[in-house]
Amino acid sequence: MTGSVSRSGARPPLLGGRKERLDALAASSGKGDAGVSLAASAWRRLRRNPVFLVGAAIIVLFVVVALLSPWLAAHDPSARLLEGQVSRARNEIPPAQEGFPLGGDQVGRDLLSRLLVGSQQTLMVGVFATVIGLAGGLVLGTLAGALGGWVDSLVMRVVDVMLSIPSLLLAFSIGALFPRPSQFTVILAVATVQIPIFARLLRGSMLAQRGSDHVLAARALGVRPRAIVFRHMLPNSLGPVIVQATLVLAVAIIDAAALSFLGLGNPDDSIPEWGQMLGGAQNVIDSHPSLAFWPAGCIIVVALGFTLVGESMRDALDPKNRR
């Protein structure tokens, strides 16, 4: 069994101990002993995706600005510092000037400071509305997907009814239920609209999980039903829901802006909010489009940021891309 071609004995002898050779081979292919979980490998792919990086940069910037805005803003956003330059008769607003790079609004408040501080409200509305919507959807979707039968039918009929009403109309109706509109009613209205979307999505992927082999394997193993739902079905169903949550954040910000724009938001304009600023600018949009341009631009960019992140996460979590 000696080789017809033999060279230096520098290498470890090949014959004997194929196991060692295979182990060495496995080690050389760069696989360590610590396993790489699905989430970790998804993150690894995300980090290299430029779409994700752009979206994430926008979001990080947005969150940082929102958190630091009280210090970033040069002026009190509700102080009418430039009131003297406002002339209703001649339809004039304060132009850009030193200390006020974007000028003032129609009552003489600093536009840049209002934009910066306004991000806070927008972030809060988006996050709270999404979290509440997600929580409601998780409960309903898990119930329907895990229990099935009449619970499933009942939950899904309710969800169908809610989905059949246009979302903005539904949000209006909910907002209008309250005698006095406030930031809280906006959050509640936007959240309620999201619940059926999350519920249906989660229920669908839970049902797919219920028929999957690994859930059957857990049943065959005699794992308790509750553990099957919470250890196997739910974690494996969450991927699309998380993606949806990111996309919903964008929608929530737009919806909240729409409600504020239409006067169903916080009437107290001493606390600025982008949608409300946009609404306030509609009277002067012909003469002073910049008053509408800035808040609208902010809404679009932030919504785009969340959408980019959501889309790239959808790709990263797709099991087909797993390696």
Partner: protein, 382 residues
């Protein structure tokens, strides 16, 4: 006893020998239609009256083509699919009487190995938590250290390095994943393991590793196997006894050598003659019994003998009207054919069969997923 029959097939079946007794088992899946109100418009007779016994320590092979109900039968035996009729007695306990917690505890004793090793492992769990789960569910987790030792032993016995514990299913090759699936089944020290197509998703060169592993584990642990497969060569290689299924029923059952040496049912003969053998000389010489036409839909099985529409030995009247019972022809050799002896002795010659159209209305086709299909192969073919 009859000579030429495997010792395992001898009819010395005392009750204590039998681990699983299946009696008239039936699984009929309802076919539902309608959007608001579900109406049952028919049934798929996936398993339709199966009797079989699996003895302690043996390997019983169940072979058949897609849509014959073999996977559903395996699952119904474990009550992973609810049977419509009949009973399964496991070690003296009628499984159909068990409910909820008592059934769950019974599951410790009967385990399953799946066809697709990747989809049957939860992608989010590490190998360790996959293996610990069964122990926890049955209160067998005896502290970190003892359990850790047990898991490492288990991995070694299925031929995986102990470093595998911290990895995730997607980091392994197909053969290694199947070893994890086998290890999971063994964590709870079962008596019976149902292996549903355990090697058909694996590469040819890896199949033998898993087949040998199953054989080694059986010898070491005294396991009883039910192996379900479409590949007759695999089933014959690992099984002591083999049951051949066609359209929801067992048509022939015999010791594995006996079945190959003298197949009695026309379907078994056709099946055996169709399996390609990697030997050109043999292939050139072989006479094939080519079946014409397709498998009839299990939603509308033919009357009488289910095989009569494709059978080259079909005889008028009786085959079309009377469903043959599974009867013992020789020691331990059972066959469901009216004319088994006549065909064996050459008193009936095969004739040409005109292919009969199998009407498929889209929903009832044997290739389409129906309510609760048992496996991918059951739906798409092997």
């Amino acid at each position: 006893m009859t000579s030429g029959v495997d010792s395992t097939t001898q009819k010395s079946t005392s009750d204590s020998d039998v681990l699983v007794a299946v009696d008239g088992l039936a699984v009929h899946f309802p076919i539902r239609r309608g959007i608001v109100l579900d109406r049952t418009v028919g049934h798929v007779y996936a398993v339709d009256g199966v009797d079989l016994d699996i003895r302690r320590g043996e390997t019983y092979g169940l072979v058949g083509e897609s849509g014959c109900g073999k996977s559903t039968l395996g699952r119904a035996m474990l009550r992973l699919v609810e049977p419509t009729g009949g009973r399964v007695v496991f070690d003296g306990v009628d499984l159909s009487t068990l409910r909820g917690e008592s059934l769950r505890r019974m599951r410790r004793r009967m385990q399953m190995v799946f066809q697709d090793p990747l989809s049957s492992l939860d992608p989010r769990q590490s190998v360790e938590s996959i293996l610990v789960e069964g122990l926890r569910a049955h209160g067998l987790d005896q502290g970190r250290e003892t359990t850790g030792r047990r898991l490492r032993e288990l991995l070694t016995s299925v031929g995986l390095p102990t470093t595998a514990l911290r990895k995730y299913p997607h980091e392994f090759s197909g053969g290694q994943r199947q070893r994890i699936g086998i290890a999971r089944a063994l964590t709870v020290e079962p008596d019976l393991v149902v292996a549903d197509e355990p090697v058909s998703a694996l590469d040819v060169s890896v199949q033998a590793q898993v087949i040998n592993l199953l054989a080694d584990l059986q010898r070491e642990l005294g396991l009883t196997y039910l192996v379900i497969a479409h590949d007759l060569a695999v089933v014959r290689h690992i099984s002591d006894r083999v049951g051949v299924m066609y359209l929801g029923g067992i048509v022939e059952e015999a010791g594995s050598n006996e079945l190959y040496a003298q197949p009695l049912h026309p379907y078994t003969r056709a099946l055996l003659s169709a399996v390609p053998v990697p030997d050109p000389l043999l292939e050139d010489r072989r006479e094939r019994i080519l079946l014409t036409g397709d498998l009839p839909s299990p939603a509308a099985p033919p009357s009488g003998c289910r095989f009569h529409t494709r059978c080259p030995w079909r005889q008028p009247e009786r085959c079309d009207t009377e469903r043959p019972a599974l009867r013992e022809v020789a020691g331990g050799h059972r066959v469901a054919c009216h004319w088994a002896e006549e065909i064996r002795d050459g008193r009936i010659q095969p004739h040409e069969v005109r292919p009969e159209l199998v009407e498929e209305d889209g929903l009832l086709s044997p290739d389409t997923a129906l309510t609760g299909p048992a496996s991918v192969t059951e739906v798409l073919g092997p």
